[in-house]
Symmetry: C3
Subunit: 209 residues, 3 copies
């Protein structure tokens, strides 16, 4: 029950961030709602498709769609009167990332998949929605550019979660610690501008073949 409420909050926050990003591109209301939907359910949908997990989590249970529409509507109204609450959204987004990543990893784990696949599925669940948002908005995905750790925090959190289980922690305890690890790492990354190095290949050294 706590997890269900948390997951609804996560979906709502991802939708709000999608709606705001779409607002920067001057999309119309329909475009904003589509981007909000894709941002919020894109990662979990891709995971479910890749793992052949049907019905996909939002298909049979429409409360996710309802929360997303409500969240987008709230942003529409809010932004008319005030500046978007970016600080609060950043905190909520980190919590959403933590929750989705670890719960996505658990879905893969429950299928007995290898740990590398578990890490990939957790990361996809937490981060792929934002990549789809950017691709559909005609932007180079933020996730790939040098910014404060995001997917990397997710990856580290899943690895930590799996390691805790390996050394004997119960799954529930390990999952809470794993989520805390993702969120803390993300907060630390924002606070201290933690970033991965860039990989640079000079243009003249690469030609399509």
């Amino acid at each position: 029950m706590v997890l269900f409420i948390l997951s609804m909050i996560g979906v709502g926050v991802f939708a709000a961030s999608g709606a705001l990003a779409a607002g920067r591109k001057d999309f119309d209301l329909l475009g904003v709602i589509v981007i909000a939907l894709v941002t919020a359910v894109g990662g979990g949908t891709l995971r479910d498709l890749l793992l052949d997990r049907h019905p996909i989590f939002w298909v049979k249970e429409p409360s996710h769609l309802t929360v997303i529409l409500a969240s987008a509507a709230l942003i529409f109204v809010y932004v008319r009167f005030r500046k978007p609450p970016l600080g609060a959204l950043a905190v909520a987004d980190a919590l959403g990332l933590a929750l989705f990543t670890i719960s996505g990893a658990q879905v893969a784990e429950a299928r007995g998949l290898p740990w590398l696949t578990v890490v990939v599925m957790g990361t996809i669940t937490g981060s792929a929605g934002g990549v789809l948002r950017d691709v559909l908005s005609g932007e180079v995905p933020l996730l790939f550019r040098q910014t404060d750790l995001y997917a990397t925090a997710a990856i580290a959190g899943v690895v930590f979660y799996l390691a805790l289980e390996e050394v004997g922690f119960g799954q529930e305890t390990a999952s809470y610690i794993g989520m805390a690890a993702v969120a803390c790492l993300r907060f630390a990354a924002i606070r201290w501008r933690l970033r991965l190095p860039v990989f640079h290949v000079p243009d003249e050294d690469w030609k399509p073949y």
Copy 2:
């Protein structure tokens, strides 16, 4: 049978519109054919994937692919001699949108899914091909920008179709009225430039977090 012929016409028209759009980007013949294919079958394919409906409609029955290739070839030849018949294509496209949207909604309905999911699946079936066309062409999807109602007409038509069923209309009657609603709304949108408002967030009010 009538529906089959209509659906082939719809696929053909979507393919033609895809081929023309690709022609603006100076793609080579292969690129044009891929864009034509994706535009024509993209929406239905996404719906089938999301609903785990296999074999996907064009995989076992190759007549869709054949019609798309023929349609692209026709456009290649036609455009050498005359300007593309944009008016006729716009009419046919509206009919294709109407047909695909309502039939896509019916697929979801037949699975007993909630009405919100039915609306989403109908809209995806009718509109997602054009979004994929734009993304693959390196354009910001037209569907999200402020233009004459398109997906919105589809959404309104599905809601109207479901409402008619709710008040007692038979499914077949309701579906024809629903299709007419989508097409008329689309024609009205083109004729009187009906558009949704833009949602604008100033750049300085948004930063990626």
Copy 3:
């Protein structure tokens, strides 16, 4: 066994080409790894999704992911000291294209699908990873622009493979000849700049409707 080793080499080479392409865009290490992964497994994953073939080839057997990560790491180190070996990569890439295309076609063939679908699935398996790489990198897909034959070589190879089977060749023999055909056509295309014509539609002749 030979095929397994070849397929690992193919995956590694596609990953290397993805990593180099990402390097041109100044992505950070995570971005480079994601692009390498998508380039290497994107085509086969799309084929598996479209054919409802689960578990998807890399989900249960993590050696593909391991090879991709190793290949990306190798490129990171290599590029610090030398220019990327573009000639060798082009040769390996053509071999990878040949292998993936024909083996992708065989997957569809084994399901008794129509030959047009077999051609489409072979082409997707060999080429879609590169399209995803470009879309995720914010580039117009190279595959659609006028460059030396790539997907066209794949299509011709699959058609040739199917024709050989039709006239009585055994599947194994036909598949080796088909792979050789793809690779040779690709080499010939690079050597003699073989290209498809461009399809051009003047901008004023097209408007979105």
